[in-house]
């Protein structure tokens, strides 16, 4: 926001309140309430507003208080945000960033535990990235703001309290690259966002049991970084996808299809995809825990895959 005066933030309670997860804390005091704009409750409308502002030269960052609420903004995101650069013949660009907390939290209820990446992934014209660490959150956010395309940045409700030492100086990560978290030889585990931590926990157990998993945080959900993924598949010949999306129609489903199509010859076993069940997320804590993939399941899946 300091580097470019056209960058602005809009969303519910982003101003003096600092945002529902305090992501925009302090920005309103620093940049004024015109650049950090509190909007009334109408997701379709403030997303539309962001699109109009972007078409007129600003670089807005629209915050969904919870990504699930952006289902109300689907019309604007799909029919306008993704399309107008194309249908206007390239005359209008929409350099907007749409971001917010999503995913399954701790007893937030079904409506607040949505995984919107599976619904948005078909929309042509948008890019989707998911951050998972403070380091990649900063880099991806900067990249998203500087991109000329509309970008949807998925944050996770349970990852806001992570602490990490990150460089003070400016750095920008690529929006189309996956991150190698742990190189290995036996199996490629593809994951993103919060599931990365479950995978790393499972990885510890697996290492103790003598396995050597390669863990890749795919980060870029649309488009997939098939180069990094492909190199890994060619090395290990076994793929396990661990995601938080539901079984049907999630990122894992698309990724399975993409890998099968492109790297079929390199696979020694069918791709295994661990996802959440096709149920609305229950409120009861124990039930909620079991809709999401747990480290124990990941360990079992790897053992089976490597037989």
């Amino acid at each position: 926001m300091e580097r470019d005066p056209r960058v602005c933030v809009m969303g519910e309670d982003v101003g003096h309140y600092g945002g529902s997860y305090k992501v925009t804390k302090g920005l309103a005091e620093k940049y004024g309430d015109l650049r950090v704009l509190d909007t009334p409750i109408a997701e379709n409308s403030f997303t539309g507003m962001g699109i109009g502002a972007a078409m007129t030269g600003l670089r807005p960052i629209v915050e969904g208080m919870n990504m699930g609420f952006l289902l109300l903004a689907f019309n604007q995101i799909s029919n306008n945000c993704g399309m107008l650069h194309y249908t206007s013949g390239g005359q209008f660009t929409i350099p907007i960033v749409i971001r917010g907390p999503g995913g399954v939290g701790r007893q937030l209820g079904a409506e607040h535990s949505q995984r919107l990446e599976s619904y948005f992934q078909s929309i042509p014209g948008i890019q989707m990235v998911a951050c998972s660490t403070p380091y990649n959150a900063k880099g991806l956010m900067k990249a998203a703001i500087r991109s000329e395309n509309p970008v949807i940045l998925f944050e996770h409700v349970l990852l806001y309290n992570l602490k990490e030492r990150i460089p003070d100086e400016e750095y920008v990560l690529s929006l189309e690259e996956a991150e190698m978290v742990r190189p290995g030889e036996h199996v490629t585990i593809l994951t993103y966002s919060r599931m990365r931590y479950h995978v790393m926990q499972a990885a510890k157990t697996l290492v103790n049991k003598g396995y050597d998993p390669e863990v890749i945080d795919i980060r870029s959900l649309k488009p997939f970084d098939l180069y990094t993924i492909g190199c890994s598949v060619k090395k290990t010949h076994r793929v396990l996808i661990v995601e938080e999306c539901m079984r049907t129609g999630g990122i894992g489903a698309s990724l399975t299809a993409a890998i099968t199509e492109n790297f079929h010859d390199y696979l020694d076993a069918p791709i295994v995809c661990l996802s959440s069940q096709d149920v609305p997320t229950p409120y009861a804590g124990t039930l909620e825990e079991w809709t999401v993939v747990q480290p124990a399941q990941i360990v079992t899946a790897v053992e089976q895959l490597c037989q």
Partner: protein, 484 residues
């Protein structure tokens, strides 16, 4: 009971004065200069308001605003419902301000006794009515306005026929709404950003979009600015500050607020202007767009073309309110109802609204009453749901082009030979433009994949490659006018 209610009305003087006192009316002299009279100081009677404004509320309101939003202080409009000092002990405090209370349980009726009157300058014969107040226009402006209205009319009838002949796939006309199109366009500056629905090509025409450019878009050929990607009438031109038409209804309303917000950040002396029909006012985006614009002090002009029909749904089935103008006040927006078939009235209203929007940084709602003479589009036959003589009546007797023509002629600025020259020249130009457009090549295959993103990503490169291979293998199955 009756006496106490009168007492209440007398006490809240604000209410009575608000009804009679139209702050932005072009009043006093009968023919005012074209400079805006809107910044006149308030009428003496109402001057007492500012003293009576509750200081606590005033202070609180400023606490919530930071320095960067400097809307010109327009405090008067909020004082309409505040009682004077005598009644302070009869008022109660709630979030949102002080409000008088009453022991009478009275429901506000669903409609005022009288419908909101409609601002009109010319009578049906094109004569300026006595005591009419309007913004003067020069001969040049009047002639350009009239010529563009005729151009729009001619374009519409010819292109409609071209669709009927099967040469383009789709078209929709603005017949009957020429005055709204051109009258409003003429009152705006080229810096103002237009967010249209789809029945406002006249605005683009006014700004200099050529006939050839219109036709190229209809045929989706390689000269089309949209590169053949959208269906006919979905024009767009960033050079003319005319946002590309997008089919979903009312999505442009919140976008207009965003565009206005951007203009405000840049400190530009321009506003966003968005058009929509009566049907659009039922969409959620209408509600939120107006609400946002009001809350954010966005310089937007909302122009509703209330033409009576949303495809086959008449306004009686669209809403139960007194049209669209009454909804403005519900959002805290200045609004006006205008005779949309009176080009001068539309011009004056939009001209004034623009000044309000820019100088005061606030939205304005204009309801232009008109009639959709044509069918909804070439996919519709409106005689199926409305009587033919109704259509004929509006086409002939309430024709906005003829009405304006009479006014221009009466001023000695136009005559019959100008008319026939214009019409025959237009026909020739249009026929030629159509010929050129029809023969032109379509956009190349690569334009199917470009512009989805700023650069071609690998998956689209792959898809393009695969498609080219298929076309190469089966050339007879693919159209010959699409260059590879």
């Amino acid at each position: 009971m009756a006496s106490s209610s009168w007492l209440l009305m007398r006490r809240s003087r604000a209410l009575i004065h608000h009804k009679n006192f139209s702050f932005y009316s072009l009043f006093s002299s009968s023919s005012c200069s074209s400079s805006s009279p809107l910044l006149k100081k308030p009428h003496a009677q109402s001057a007492g308001y500012s003293n009576n404004y509750s200081s606590a509320h005033h202070h609180f309101r400023f606490l919530r605003r930071f320095e960067s939003t400097k809307a010109e202080a327009a405090q008067l409009e909020l004082q309409h419902y505040v009682t004077d000092d005598d009644d302070n002990n009869r008022a109660i405090d709630f979030p949102g301000g002080k409000v008088a209370f009453t022991s009478e349980m009275r429901f506000i009726s669903e409609a005022s006794q009288k419908r909101v009157p409609c601002y009109r300058v010319l009578d049906d014969n094109g004569m300026a009515m006595k005591y009419s107040n309007y913004v003067q226009i020069s001969k040049e402006m009047a002639v350009k306005m009239y010529s563009d209205m005729v151009t729009l009319q001619t374009m519409d009838s010819i292109f409609y026929e071209v669709q009927r002949q099967g040469r383009i796939s789709f078209y929709l006309t603005s017949i009957g709404e020429e005055a709204v199109n051109i009258g409003s366009a003429a009152a705006l500056s080229s810096d103002d950003i237009i967010l249209p629905q789809y029945r406002e090509p006249g605005v683009l025409l006014w700004r200099g979009f050529t006939l050839q450019q219109f036709v190229d878009q209809l045929f989706g050929n390689k000269s089309d600015l949209g590169k053949g990607r959208q269906m006919p009438i979905h024009y767009g031109s960033n050079k003319h500050n005319y946002f590309t038409v997008s089919s979903p209804i009312a999505t442009q309303l919140p976008q207009a607020v965003g565009a206005a917000y951007s203009l405000k950040m840049d400190g530009k002396s321009a506003c966003a202007v968005t058009y929509f029909g009566d049907g659009s006012t039922s969409e959620g985006d209408f509600h939120a767009g107006l609400n946002f614009a009001a809350v954010m002090d966005a310089p937007v002009i909302f122009i509703c073309r209330n033409n009576g029909w949303a495809i086959s749904t008449p306004v009686e089935e669209q809403f139960r309110s007194d049209g669209v103008v009454v909804k403005g006040q519900a959002y805290g927006i200045w609004s006006i109802r205008v005779d949309g078939n009176d080009a001068l009235a539309v011009y004056s209203a939009v001209h004034t609204a623009r000044e309000i929007a820019i100088k005061e940084k606030r939205p304005v709602l204009i309801e232009a009453l008109t009639y959709r003479v044509g069918h909804h589009s070439t996919s519709d036959d409106s005689t199926k749901y409305r009587p033919i003589d109704e259509i004929e009546y509006w086409k002939m007797e309430r024709n906005p082009v003829n009405r304006f023509k009479r006014w221009v002629e009466r001023n000695g600025w136009w005559n019959d030979s100008n008319e026939s020259e214009l019409r025959s020249s237009l026909r020739k130009q249009l026929m030629q433009a159509i010929q050129v457009a029809e023969k032109a090549q379509k956009p190349p295959l690569e334009d199917m994949f470009n512009d989805v993103y700023d650069r071609l990503p690998s998956n689209l490169e792959e898809q393009e490659r695969v498609l080219r291979e298929i076309v190469k293998k089966h050339p007879e199955d693919y159209p010959s006018d699409v260059p590879l």
